[in-house]
């Protein structure tokens, strides 16, 4: 059934809230009351949704990763383990709040709060549906980047205030990583802004709806760069160096226990949702889906896409091992940065030609999409081979089989090439 614009069509919450606000205005309240009321309602709604999503995803992620690992996952607490997040939250709340003796008390207490605030604030500028933006900033995209950059501060303060060598090591690594990948994030988002012509997120989603295309098809290289740098920003595998469990125990939040650790844990999930929300709005069309939003509420479509993107991150966590910090930095500076710069230059050129030559969008967009797709593949493969990533030594290989006892084959024979499924032939 199509969405009605009436207040009783609860599938589109904007109508209901809008009718409520009109009612308040009709009562003769001063001008700022509906404004504040809508702000409060929006903030409470976002808060509720994020907390519920985090609770749900604690269970979902552990189950999904368990399925990938050929085991079951939490299934004891409650039916099918569904109360596991509640158990986790209770456990964290009831633990003793230890502050180490020589730690900096104020900063130690403040760091979890400081890391939690930016991850929540991101959702203020994301358009959840038609007219469902809490703060429709003109500089929305820039705001997202700015908030991401305050994340580095909180991580560093957390590591430093613990008075622990491991934590400081982890914090330094994390800050270096975050700063490098911020630049790539900015360049990836710049490609989007060039095409949409505006930094307001609602405008970008509207552009995608008007042009009937998702920016993923126009800017594939930027999306790839953003997915990778997003994974780094939220410290998720394969780039979870800052909490590399097998190396430095837990990185910058080693000394945190109880609900302070709960804040870090929650902030990781929230940041993941934030990045997924940004990818959904900017690259995947946001709450639009080629006309489906007339029938299904936009926020449902948006949430569906968001969870799919987050599933991509869960998938990569369950599958891929972790990179070393210097490999990660080299990847950022030598590989992703030149590619992103080239992408911005090419995108700028395309937009310029499109506007100047006044080509209709039905012609221009497929052409631009095709050019960018080919360019993306060519650049990814070409630049990798220029940097030497596709050289023989980096490729997978096989051990050599021999029968002569006592022979020394060090560096004398080349390793056998890998042919999968052929056994040891």
């Amino acid at each position: 059934m199509r969405l009605l614009a009436e207040w009783y069509d609860f599938r589109d919450l904007g109508n209901t809230i809008g009718a409520l606000l009109d009612r308040i205005r009709d009562w003769g309240a001063p001008d700022w009351v509906p404004y504040v009321a809508s702000g409060v309602i929006g903030a409470v709604a976002i808060l509720l949704w994020t907390v519920l999503s985090v609770l749900a995803f604690i269970w979902i992620e552990r189950r999904v990763v368990a399925l990938m690992q050929n085991r079951i996952g939490p299934n004891r607490v409650g039916p099918n383990g569904l109360l596991q997040p509640v158990a986790d939250a209770l456990k964290l709340l009831l633990k003793e709040a230890i502050t180490t003796r020589d730690a900096d008390r104020i900063l130690f207490w403040a760091a979890p709060v400081l890391i939690f605030i930016p991850t929540m604030v991101i959702f203020a500028v994301i358009p959840f549906g038609r007219g469902m933006v809490l703060a429709d900033l003109n500089v929305g995209v820039l705001f997202l980047i700015a908030i991401g950059s305050t994340n580095t501060l909180a991580v560093f303060l957390a590591g430093w205030s613990s008075n622990n060598k491991y934590a400081l090591l982890g914090a330094m690594r994390t800050v270096a990583m975050l700063i490098s990948y911020e630049i790539i994030q900015v360049l990836a988002l710049l490609g989007v802004v060039l095409f949409a012509g505006s930094m307001r997120l609602g405008d970008i989603v509207d552009w995608q709806r008007d042009m009937d295309v998702w920016l993923l098809f126009i800017q594939p290289l930027a999306l790839l760069a953003y997915i990778i740098s997003g994974a780094v920003e939220i410290n998720r595998s394969p780039m979870d160096i800052s909490e590399a469990e097998s190396e430095i125990v837990a990185g910058y939040h080693t000394e945190y226990g109880g609900i302070k650790f709960g804040f870090f844990y929650q902030a990781e999930y929230l940041a993941g949702f934030g990045i997924a929300a940004i990818i959904t709005s900017l690259y995947l069309g946001g709450w639009t889906a080629w006309g489906l939003e007339e029938w299904v509420p936009g926020w449902l479509i948006f949430l569906g896409k968001l969870y799919l993107v987050f599933f991509l991150y869960i998938w990569s966590r369950g599958t891929l091992p972790r990179l070393r910090i210097d490999q990660l930095m080299a990847f950022a500076w030598k590989y992703l940065l030149p590619l992103s710069l080239l992408n911005v230059v090419v995108a700028g050129g395309e937009v310029l030609v499109w506007r100047e030559a006044d080509v209709p969008s039905e012609v221009a967009l497929p052409v631009i999409g095709a050019i960018n797709a080919v360019l993306a593949v060519a650049l990814v493969v070409g630049w990798a081979s220029t940097l030497g990533h596709l050289r023989r030594e980096r490729r997978p290989a096989r051990a050599i089989l021999t029968q002569e006892v006592g022979a020394i084959l060090y560096e004398k024979a080349a390793p056998g090439p890998l042919r999968r499924g052929s056994g040891q032939a």
Binding site: W32, D104, I106, L107, A110, L137, N138, V139, L142, F143, I145, A146, I147, S149, T150, T152, L153, F156, L157, W160, L168, V175, I179, E182, M199, D326, Q327, A330
Partner: protein, 169 residues
């Protein structure tokens, strides 16, 4: 700026900014001073918002609170611990005198100037205006700033380059 909201916002932000700036000078622990500095930066960003300079406010957060403060923090962490407590300095009294003189001068200048109160028009989007200005009227300073940043980056790389010629992957 007549209605109650703007006035309240201004005063709250002003107290935050000036208060944390005072904390920067008064804090014993250097890291606390830097955190207070960051709060002061955020307060300034808020003041920009009350002046409808949206782009500038967000850039203030991005550059100052995001990048410059991390730089300062790293610089502090890499210095020896002896410089951490900046309370017992023999320059306390002369510094205080100098600060009072400077504050008096600035205050006198601010109170004596005839400020023209500009007529506020509607809110225009500043981002596109700034962008156009940077590439139109002010393109030369823009390019010079870029060259300066490039020189700084190259200098940083040269400074931390290891002695041997090989650069690891």
């Amino acid at each position: 700026m007549e209605d109650a909201g703007s006035i309240a916002a201004f005063w709250v932000l002003a107290v935050i900014t000036v208060g944390s700036a005072l904390m920067v000078a008064a804090a014993r622990n250097l890291i606390h001073a830097v955190v207070a500095l960051i709060v002061s930066f955020l307060g300034v960003a808020g003041l920009y918002v009350t002046l409808s300079a949206d782009f500038l406010a967000v850039t203030q957060v991005l550059i100052y609170a995001g990048a410059v403060s991390v730089l300062i923090l790293f610089a502090i962490v890499l210095t020896p611990t002896a410089a951490r407590d900046n309370a017992d300095s023999f320059l306390r009294l002369p510094a205080l005198l100098l600060a009072v003189v400077v504050a008096f001068t600035i205050g006198l200048a601010a109170l004596e100037t005839d400020w023209r109160i500009a007529d506020r028009g509607g809110f225009e989007e500043t981002a596109s205006a700034i962008g156009e200005a940077l590439l139109d009227k002010y393109v030369l300073p823009f390019e010079i700033a870029s060259v300066l940043l490039l020189a700084a980056m190259i200098g940083a790389i040269v400074l931390v380059r290891p002695e041997s010629a090989s650069v690891e992957e």
